[in-house]
């Protein structure tokens, strides 16, 4: 006797869940229908900047042949869900089909946040969330011409770097006083900014775009910044963060987190015991996670639950990041404070080339976590030391070799 699982959303996390379930469901208990809004089955969204740079769709695809060939799995791409009836336990799709479910997973992801500035609907204003978005952006690229990227977080930096590699002259506008304000402190961002300047990126931190101005053909011509500066530009990319997609009509409605997202417990269960939420649309214990690693942990957890396996609660989500951007390596690991919310911070800086900050417990001196920027010791080495007092020669671990 098989049961039906409907997964709404065929992004990275939804796909990982189904793929894991295929592996774990040795009793062949589940039949799965995956509804994808996009025409393309799951692909590596994290590498969209590589796609902008010329990589093919096939290279980004996450879907193996065996997956599509698995008789237990039915992938319906280009078929968004439009309504969920929790009492009848059915999902209605845009093409009018009604699918009954025994279990439902919401993996709707998030959508780009576009700040409400006048002119944001003009031609040549872009976001970069999907392959189609990226196709449109790439078609507008004009080497040698200026571009404006709104948002100095991870997405904005990747977009700016991508446009730079395609020969444009990007300006980047960040409202916070420094780049990557959620992950980095001012000094780590300073190392990154140094890298950005070296690559010829024009940074405008601590200001916002107040208007997007049209040229004679109705397309973008310039943007106006908070301080009155006008930047000429051929195109604008909004990369000012994302918001969870929690607006699918569900009757009766599910509880949402205070800052949006489907509210779940530490096991990704919504208030309905047949409905889970995973990935960026899930507010696990009230908090949404925009990185793929926590999303994969959620997918793993739900796949285990569906196959009757025990699963660890996801109360302490690792928000570590590690990336190389603008020629600068930046990483974070562990946490920034202990349970009391206090910590001792120790910082090490070598001009603008490298910087490290570690957080230590006040009572025991044990390493809690840290921020790394530039040519520092590896994040993995340091993350392995979390929970113990750091070695006496901590500085040599953070800055392994003399830099010249």
């Amino acid at each position: 006797m098989t049961a039906t699982l409907v997964v709404i959303g065929h992004g990275m996390v939804g796909h990982r869940l189904v793929d894991t379930l295929r592996e774990l469901d040795r009793d062949r208990r589940w039949r799965v229908v995956v509804l994808g809004e996009e025409r393309e089955p799951a692909y590596d969204r994290v590498r969209l900047s590589a796609y902008l740079g010329g990589r093919s769709r096939a290279e980004l695809s996450l879907v193996a042949f065996e997956f599509l060939a698995d008789p237990r799995i039915e992938v319906r791409s280009g078929t968004p869900a439009v309504h969920v009836d929790r009492r009848a336990r059915t999902v209605r799709t845009a093409d009018g089909n009604v699918l009954p479910y025994d279990a439902l997973v919401l993996a709707t992801g998030s959508r780009p946040f576009v700040p409400p500035v006048p002119g944001r609907e003009l031609d040549n204003c872009f976001v970069q969330r999907t392959l189609e978005d990226t196709d449109a952006l790439r078609a507008a690229v004009r080497p040698g011409r200026p571009a404006v990227v709104v948002g100095g977080g991870l997405l904005g930096l990747e977009a700016a770097q991508g446009l730079q590699l395609l020969g444009m002259r990007p300006h980047l506008v960040e409202a916070a006083p420094h780049l990557m304000p959620t992950q980095l402190d001012a000094e780590a961002a300073h190392v990154l900014q140094h890298g950005a300047n070296r690559l010829g990126l024009h940074l405008h931190c601590g200001t916002t775009v107040t208007a997007v101005n049209a040229g004679s053909h109705g397309a973008v011509r310039s943007v106006t910044l908070g301080d009155g500066t006008v930047l000429d530009t051929d195109l604008v990319v909004f990369a000012a963060g994302v918001r969870p997609r929690d607006d699918l009509p569900v009757a009766p409605a599910l509880r949402l987190g205070d800052r949006g997202g489907y509210l779940t417990d530490a096991l990704c269960r919504t208030s309905d015991d047949r409905v889970w939420a995973v990935g960026e649309c899930a507010a696990v214990l009230g908090r949404c996670h925009g990185l793929v690693a926590p999303g994969y942990r959620m997918a793993q957890s739900v796949a285990r639950q569906l196959t009757g396996r025990p699963s660890e609660p996801l109360d302490a989500m690792d928000t570590s990041t590690e990336l190389k951007l603008l020629g600068v390596h930046v990483a974070t690991f562990g946490s920034t404070s202990d349970e009391d919310g206090s910590a001792v911070e120790m910082t090490f800086r070598e001009s603008v080339s490298r910087y490290a900050k570690v957080f230590l417990r006040r009572d025991t001196g044990a390493l809690l976590g840290g921020i790394l920027a530039g040519e520092t010791g590896s994040r993995t080495d340091l993350a392995a030391r979390v929970g113990r007092p750091p070695a006496a020669d901590l500085e040599r671990v953070l800055f392994p070799d003399p830099s010249f």
């Binding site: 120790m346 910082t347 001009s351 230590l360 006040r362 001196g365 750091p390 006496a392």
Partner: protein, 469 residues
């Protein structure tokens, strides 16, 4: 035999007289002191203010061998005739010299603030600077406002709060000592001052003083039965300038503390050496020491003493060591520590493994260690955290026997037993033990214990080899 004439009778002069005597100066010395009171140890003024010290105790023992003319105000220096003209009461006097030492000090800067001084430029009742012991008596009433966020302002305000006065500290920067301590450190200082009862009003300027209150530019006011102006000092250069001696900010001196006139020297707060004036009390005393050596025929060049600021306040230990500019120099490595809950802060500028500059707050042990390493130009231990948080071994001495084990090197987790094992395996000297175990290579505080252990084992081994009687 030469006759030395000194203008000014502050701590630098006192130190100079002592140095001359020690070096066996065989000429005569005359001091013209504009005041009638003897020399004072000015850095302790705020301690008097707290009520912890009697004013009399500020007076060091008078130096024998010098003639001190009190109430003698120098009016002109004639460098051509080598004579100083002075006024002593109604009498005009002339004082010839072979060598002249200008130690005129500095005078407080009075801000152009309405209500602080009368038409003749004298400070109004209820307004004072803090330069002399008698100034302490001018601070009256239950509520006092201190204007100025420099070291003296902070020291004065915390001393007043300690003695129970309702105290407000007004400064134009966001926090007191903001330029020296930076955002984080200065914010911690403000927090500590507030805990000690000082109402700190940062980012505000005084616009007018009225009896009993000081009006500020944001429309608020501070209660001020007395107003203490701690708004900086400027070198006293008027005599020198009138005499045609080269003056920049202060009286310009070379490494022999000699002015543009080869027979005239200058020391202390009035002097400008290597482009720097008013470098602080320690620096003034160091100049006096150098000059005493120069005047007794020794060839000494005055070495720029490291600028060290140690705040004299019970509120929190604060030290600024070395030039702030070092933090911005290329090739400098910066190490920082911030403990918001413990209100502790440190920032070190390291040039290789030497300290180029440091800012420390709330870390008395680290201040002592870092000052020492900086003054001696010694390398800092690789355990920066141990250095700053003062991790030390607290083992009782002479309890070593083989049955018990204990941690010797906390930094590298080396126990006594491990060291003994290494010794057995042939590491019979301290360097060999260090190589074998890495003990002492962290904060370095266990070196004495490793030496003691090593010596003890060596002795014991020696005894065993002796033939038993």
């Amino acid at each position: 035999m030469s006759h030395i004439l000194v203008l000014g009778h502050g701590p630098a002069t006192h130190r100079l007289l002592r140095g001359l005597r020690r070096h066996g100066h065989d000429g005569t010395v005359t001091v013209l002191s504009a005041e009638y009171r003897p020399v004072q140890h000015r850095p302790l003024l705020t301690t008097v203010l707290q009520g912890r010290l009697e004013a009399d105790m500020l007076r060091p023992e008078p130096e024998p061998g010098a003639r001190v003319l009190t109430g003698a105000v120098a009016t002109a220096v004639d460098t051509a005739r080598r004579v100083v003209h002075a006024r002593q009461g109604d009498t005009v006097t002339a004082h010839p010299y072979d060598v002249l030492v200008l130690a005129c000090g500095a005078r407080p800067v009075i801000p152009p603030l309405p209500g602080t001084s009368d038409r003749t430029g004298r400070l109004a009742p209820g307004v004072t600077t803090l330069r002399e012991v008698t100034d302490c008596d001018r601070i009256q009433g239950t509520a006092v406002t201190v204007l100025g966020g420099g070291p003296l302002g902070v020291e004065t305000a915390s001393a007043l709060a300690l003695r129970g006065t309702v105290t407000t500290l007004v400064c134009s920067g966001p926090h007191p000592l903001h330029e020296r301590l930076g955002d984080t450190g200065a914010a911690l200082l403000t927090a500590r001052l507030r805990e000690a009862g000082v109402d700190v009003l940062g980012g505000r300027r005084a616009v007018r003083r009225e009896p009993g209150r000081l009006l500020l530019d944001d429309g608020t006011e501070a209660a001020a039965d007395s107003l203490v102006l701690c708004t900086g000092v400027e070198p006293e250069v008027r005599l020198a300038r009138a005499a045609g001696i080269r003056v920049h900010h202060g009286i310009v001196v070379d490494d022999a503390l000699c002015t543009s006139d080869s027979r005239v020297h200058a020391i202390g707060d009035c002097a400008e050496h290597a482009g720097r004036t008013v470098a602080g009390h320690e620096s003034a005393l160091a100049q006096a020491d150098t000059l005493a050596a120069v005047l007794t025929g020794r060839e000494v060049a005055h070495r720029l003493t490291p600028a060290v600021l140690r705040l004299r306040t019970h509120v929190v230990d604060v030290a600024c060591i070395g030039p702030l500019a070092a933090f911005r120099r290329s090739g400098i490595r910066t190490v920082g520590l911030f403990d918001p809950a413990g209100r502790r802060y440190a920032r070190l500028a390291l040039d290789g493994d030497r300290i180029a500059a440091a800012v420390l707050l709330g870390l008395p042990d680290a201040i002592a260690t870092v000052s020492h390493l900086h003054r001696r130009g010694l390398p800092v231990p690789s355990d920066r955290l141990g250095l700053l948080l003062g991790i030390r071994s607290h083992f009782p001495p002479a309890e070593d026997d083989d049955r018990t084990d204990s941690m010797v090197c906390l930094c590298n987790h080396v126990s006594r037993r491990q060291l003994a094992g290494a010794w057995e395996l042939g590491a019979r000297t301290v360097p060999a033990l260090v190589r074998a175990t890495r003990a002492t290579t962290g904060c370095g505080s266990c070196i004495e214990r490793v030496e003691t252990l090593c010596a003890g084992w060596t002795d014991a081994a020696g005894r065993e080899l002796e033939p038993t009687p």
